[in-house]
């Protein structure tokens, strides 16, 4: 089992992801350079947070033209696990691997704080060790995390059970006050229809050890390991 963490020019959370996989989970992990044209040998690919290509034009827009993204696209279409965190989520929507788009936060401010996420489905390779409704305390740090999809796309996402995490209050209620960025239906993370690609704005890589304030993010990485062991 080998994890890969892609580095784009402007990525800045690749070391957090690498550390979480290697030191917290104790699993093999290597970096993948954005100029690489293959992800052969990897069982899961993580697109980390940051500001790939300076977020110029639109967040994630230029990263999708990196050579590595063609390989990631193939890998995802063959069922490989592809996990985009924060900027990685933005890249996955721009690349068309996930539906929707991430707009500027409604408050226009960069928001950096802990959020409660309600686990909406356990039927994904990213949530198979949780129980449905499980609250996770995981931090966000973004200026463009406002999830948007048109009415038809949103209905499909909801009907297919593709919403994995929603911003909630400490009691697990989905309220407007608990929504940090204006995301439709408080959506914090979604999977694709085949459920092998996950994108989420909050950072499990920053919350996989108690010493960091929360170890809830570890459950997501453990689920991935669990899914890979099963296959």
């Amino acid at each position: 089992m080998k994890f890969g963490v892609v580095i784009f020019p402007g990525s800045n959370c690749e070391q957090d992801c690498h550390y979480a996989i290697q030191s917290v989970l104790g699993k093999p992990v290597e970096y993948i350079w954005h100029q690489d044209t293959s992800v052969q040998g990897f069982d899961a690919v993580i697109l980390p947070g940051g500001f790939a290509y300076g977020d110029y034009l639109r967040t994630g827009a230029l990263a999708k033209f990196s050579p590595v993204m063609r390989a990631v696209d193939d890998f995802a279409k063959k069922g490989g696990l592809v996990f985009g965190i924060c900027n990685g989520f933005q890249i996955l929507t721009e690349a068309g691997l996930l539906p929707g788009a991430l707009l500027r936060n409604v408050g226009l401010k960069y928001v950096c704080r802990y959020e409660y996420l309600r686990t909406e489905t356990t039927d994904t390779p990213y949530t198979n060790v949780m129980t449905k409704g499980r609250l996770l305390r995981i931090p966000i740090g973004h200026g463009d995390g406002n999830f948007f999809a048109d009415a038809d796309a949103l209905k499909r996402i909801e009907d297919n059970g593709q919403v994995v995490f929603r911003y909630a209050d400490a009691n697990g209620k989905i309220t407007q006050e608990a929504n940090p960025n204006g995301s439709l239906n408080n959506i914090a993370g979604i999977v694709n229809e085949k459920r092998n690609v996950l994108g989420m704005m909050p950072h499990p890589d920053r919350s996989s050890e108690e010493i960091l304030g929360s170890a809830d993010g570890k459950l997501i990485f453990e689920s991935m390991v669990n899914a890979l062991v099963r296959t």
């Binding site: 639109r58 827009a61 929507t93 539906p99 707009l103 409604v106 226009l108 406002n146 948007f148 999809a149």
Partner: protein, 75 residues
């Protein structure tokens, strides 16, 4: 030849930046302006007759079709 590509959010997409600009107009007394939508402009220089490349750039790079639309002004 020149081309100007204007990219704007679709009318159905919330524009928090435009709304914020609009809200600040009241203090200037510009109350007849009823809405503000923010967008982007790209000025391109090209060889004559190469319109297809501009269309491709506008469609596949400059615009995210989920949230944005574009129009091109040729001169």
């Amino acid at each position: 030849m020149k081309a100007t590509v204007i990219v704007t959010l679709k009318p159905t997409v919330l524009d928090p930046q435009g709304m914020t600009i609009h809200r600040s107009l009241g203090s200037l007394g510009l109350t007849d302006i009823t809405d503000v939508r923010q967008g982007k402009i790209f000025n391109l220089q090209l060889k004559a007759g190469n319109r297809e490349q501009v269309e491709k750039l506008a469609k596949e790079v400059l615009t995210n079709p989920v949230i944005e639309e574009y129009r091109i002004i040729w001169e």
